[in-house]
């Protein structure tokens, strides 16, 4: 179950082909506009999808042959961060906790396995078996592999296989270093990088755990990808932001 999101400008009505970025696509509730006819056609929001009603609506629209979703670069909304650590964890937990419902409601079946590369957030390896009796959707990122090797390290240490534990520790370190690519690229000082990595890790653990649990609750195997730093917004997005603000501003990419 791949949801494709064009990452760069693509004048589909003009004549240029651009590459597409893979990932979860949905518009967030705080910046989402609907045509009344389309909302009526889709039947409005699903009352059972508390907290993930936007994901659910977007997936429903994507499966509908009559309507198209459009991203408009100039439509920019600034959203406030949660003020407390508790609120932050609660929000991430909420993101994952109703994912299972939205996925199950699509009615899709099949086994989908994707390896998501850390450097460019593209799908590196894909395996799809549509004949599977229920929906299993597994995204593997360096974050997941780091934890897998950590588990192997613990197992090897528990059984006293010290050379194997050493090897697992080395591989885990390698995956940890790679999964921190986004933090390293963000250009913060070491202390800030550590704080950022910690919060990113907490967010990933919370989101992935609640996603897995909600999948199990709804009878499907679901391993969401970890949360990525967005790739550089397209030129058009930056231009739109400048337009919207009326002044040049270069902080969109650095995010600070």
């Amino acid at each position: 179950m791949i949801v494709e999101l064009p990452s760069t400008t693509s004048d589909y009505r003009g004549g240029r082909v651009r590459r597409y970025r893979m990932g979860f696509f949905h518009f967030s509730n705080n910046n989402l506009a609907l045509r009344a006819a389309c909302a009526r056609d889709l039947g409005g929001y699903d009352l059972a999808a508390t907290r993930s009603e936007d994901v659910e609506l977007c997936l429903r629209l994507a499966r509908n042959p009559d309507w198209v979703a459009l991203r408009e670069h100039g439509a920019v909304v600034r959203h406030k961060a949660r003020r407390t650590f508790r609120g932050f964890v609660k929000q991430l937990w909420g993101w994952g906790t109703h994912l299972g419902y939205a996925y199950r409601k699509t009615g899709l079946k099949g086994f989908h396995l994707y390896r998501v590369r850390t450097d460019d957030h593209q799908i590196g390896f894909a395996y799809e078996a549509p004949g599977f009796p229920f929906l299993a959707c597994v995204f593997i990122t360096d974050f997941h592999l780091f934890h897998l090797w950590l588990l192997l390290l613990a197992l090897a240490a528990a059984t006293g296989l010290w050379p194997a534990a050493g090897a697992a520790a080395a591989v885990a370190t390698w995956y940890l270093w790679r999964s921190l690519a986004d933090e390293r690229r963000a250009g913060f000082r070491p202390g800030e990088t550590a704080a950022l990595a910690f919060h990113h890790w907490v967010a990933n653990v919370t989101f992935v755990t609640s996603g897995v649990l909600s999948g199990l609750r709804h009878g499907l195997i679901l391993l969401p990808a970890s949360i990525f730093r967005p790739s550089t917004p397209s030129e058009a997005a930056e231009r739109a932001l400048r337009l919207a603000r009326g002044a040049p501003r270069g902080d969109l990419e650095a995010g600070k």
């Binding site: 064009p6 400008t9 693509s10 004048d11 589909y12 009505r13 003009g14 004549g15 240029r16 082909v17 651009r18 979860f24 696509f25 949905h26 518009f27 967030s28 705080n30 910046n31 506009a33 609907l34 045509r35 009344a36 009526r40 889709l42 409005g44 929001y45 009352l47 508390t50 629209l61 009559d66 309507w67 198209v68 979703a69 459009l70 991203r71 408009e72 100039g74 439509a75 920019v76 909304v77 600034r78 959203h79 406030k80 961060a81 949660r82 932050f88 800030e192 704080a195 910690f198 949360i227 917004p233 058009a236 231009r239 739109a240 932001l241 337009l243 919207a244 040049p248 969109l252 600070k256």
Partner: protein, 597 residues
């Protein structure tokens, strides 16, 4: 396929895979399967430039010259359509087809790079292709004299030994340019000619300094002048230089190979996406361009692109061009315009649906600049005059089609706003739908045109759900009053607040067209459905109480829905609202959380 150019694989597919709509995922997958058995084939990303997708049937873009040539010589296999399909080229090879192919050969040493160029086997292949082309296009004498040239004795030698022999690319490239020029001169000389005069003289200026230009000047001392905008040919095919920017022309003195490589390297290392130069070396013109992710060189074929050769000529001498070439190019342009007209008509007010599930985005400036370019070439074909200045072009079009005047004014204002980075004008939200209608009719020669109103509007209700966030809601409503395009209705659903929310809302009643609904039982989906139920207008724009809206937000939403009737949902970007003293959580949100969806 012996000889000829660098096209490795030609896939002829039907219009379901039109390259104008989408990178064809199914073709990529099929290519992946082929590659499993032939691992020496490059990755898709590397090959994409060399693959040609042909879209026949409803669109009917004419085949490019290089493929026409191969088809005529029986070196191309067609996989679709009946044997006697009328679009499949037949007959003798024309001058345009041969010269386009020769021009392609000249770019190969530059794009392949120094490793290939230091290998004599590579040059042998290149020269043999050139000889092959000379022979099939009726220049047998030139081919024979080229074989006898001193310095080209290696052409008849065995491949294996050549592979390990070092070459001297400087001399060989100069020889290649010289031989190609001789063959091209022979191709044109046999036909009756028309004379092209240079465009009216205007002062060439210093180009705007870019990092790539600095690097080039620093390394080679090559001279660069910016010429006033000119067309590269009779067809709208090559569009690397937007009219407003002029054309930077780099003149390479001395060794053509080294100079052109330096130009290529400079753009490759420091070029901005979309930065393009015209390079003049050894009597030929090259477009060197840097796009997102790659740098490329395109040789301008001296016959098909004669207008560019005349315009960039420092001696400002008139140029004789075979009349048959002009006729052939004009026919090709008409074919392209017909296909574009079909495409524009199909997409006016309608967005083609991509396979599950995709969202669309458009780069408005690219769409606008392409439209200006196509209108300009259309007028060039009709009147024989190049309206390089955008205001002149608009003036002429307005005189020819008075019904398009409001649209042309709106298009001009919006293009200038986008290029200058200033705020979009208030009206003209429907400009894209009308742009498609205008181009569809203009390129097909329909007059008078039937057009929609470029200033059409939609009714918009803004829906906000709130619960116990009075101070955040104040900021949100405050930003709503600053919108460039004012909301027609603001529908706030109070989802059981117990703080001073209702007082805050009452404070905005004189500034916003507010409606308040109460929903005692907490629940976001039901509150949103309540908004959908009670909204009085055809578009409902949702936002949250903890958001601050940029002034252009509602205007952008309206533009989005106006683009096409089948757009059901419009989203945008969610950015981070900065706080004066950001905490670690703020940094996390700004770096990872916001702007992801």
């Amino acid at each position: 396929m012996h000889g000829l150019s660098d096209v490795d694989l030609v896939i002829v597919v039907d219009e379901r895979f039109s390259r104008l709509d989408l990178e064809p995922q199914e073709v990529i997958r099929a290519y992946g399967r082929v590659r499993r058995f032939f691992p020496f084939l490059g990755k898709w990303d590397e090959k994409a430039e060399n693959l040609v997708f042909l879209s026949e049937g409803t669109l009917g873009f004419p085949l490019p010259e290089s493929l026409r040539l191969r088809a005529k010589l029986g070196r191309l296999r067609r996989l679709i359509g009946p044997e006697d399909a009328d679009w499949w080229p037949r007959g003798p090879v024309t001058a345009c087809e041969a010269s386009a192919e020769i021009a392609t050969l000249l770019r190969l040493p530059l794009t392949k790079g120094p490793v290939h160029a230091s290998n004599l086997r590579f040059w042998q292949k290149l020269f043999l292709k050139l000889l092959d082309l000379a022979e099939v296009s009726g220049c047998g004498d030139e081919a024979r004299s080229l074989r006898a040239r001193p310095g080209l004795e290696f052409l008849g030698r065995g491949e294996r030994r050549l592979f390990f022999t070092r070459s001297r690319p400087e001399e060989l490239y100069a020889l290649l340019l010289e031989s190609a020029a001789a063959i091209l001169a022979r191709l044109g000389s046999a036909l009756p000619a028309v004379t092209l005069d240079p465009p009216p003289a205007a002062a060439a200026r210093e180009p705007a300094v870019t990092p790539a230009l600095e690097r080039l000047r620093h390394g080679t001392g090559a001279s660069v002048r910016r010429h006033p905008s000119f067309l590269l040919g009779w067809t709208p095919r090559l569009n690397y230089f937007p009219a407003s920017d002029g054309v930077p022309v780099v003149t390479v003195e001395g060794c053509a190979w080294r100079g052109l490589r330096a130009v290529f390297e400079a753009l490759h290392a420091e070029g901005r996406p979309g930065e393009s130069w015209l390079a003049r070396a050894g009597g030929f013109l090259f477009v060197v361009t840097h796009q997102e992710g790659f740098t490329d060189v395109v040789t301008l074929d001296p016959l098909a692109h004669a207008p560019a050769y005349v315009a960039a000529d420092p001696a400002r001498a008139p140029r004789a061009v075979p009349a048959a070439v002009v006729k052939e190019q004009q026919a090709a342009a008409e074919g392209i315009f017909r296909a574009f007209s079909t495409l524009y008509r199909r997409n006016a007010g309608h967005v083609p649906r991509l396979p599950f599930p995709c969202v669309y985005l458009e780069d408005d400036l690219v769409v606008m600049r392409d439209a200006f370019h196509r209108m300009r070439v259309r007028l060039f074909l009709d009147e024989g005059r190049d309206y390089a200045d955008r205001d002149e072009l608009i003036g002429r079009l307005a005189a020819l089609h008075p019904e398009a005047r409001p649209f042309l004014a709106a298009l001009k204002a919006q293009t200038e706003a986008l290029e200058g980075g200033s705020g979009l004008p208030k009206d003209g939200g429907n400009v894209f739908r009308v742009l498609h209608q205008v181009l569809a009719q203009l390129l097909a020669g329909v007059s008078p045109m039937v057009l929609d109103d470029p200033h059409a509007r939609l009714g918009i209700t803004v829906g906000i759900i709130t619960r116990n966030r009075a101070s955040d809601l104040t900021e949100c409503l405050e930003s709503l009053t600053r919108q460039v395009r004012r909301p027609d209705e603001v529908l706030v659903v109070d989802n059981g607040s117990t703080d001073r929310t209702s007082a805050v809302i009452d404070g905005f009643r004189d500034r916003l067209p507010l409606t308040v609904e109460f929903l005692a039982q907490a629940g976001i989906p039901s509150a949103r459905n309540k908004v959908l139920e009670h909204a009085r207008h055809e578009v409902i724009a949702f936002t949250d109480d903890d958001c601050v809206l940029e002034p252009g937000w509602l205007q952008a939403v309206e533009r989005g829905f106006l683009r096409a009737d089948n757009i059901g949902m419009v989203g945008g970007w969610v950015c981070h609202e900065h706080t004066p003293s950001p905490s670690a959580i703020d940094t996390y949100y700004a770096t990872f959380h916001h702007n992801t969806t």
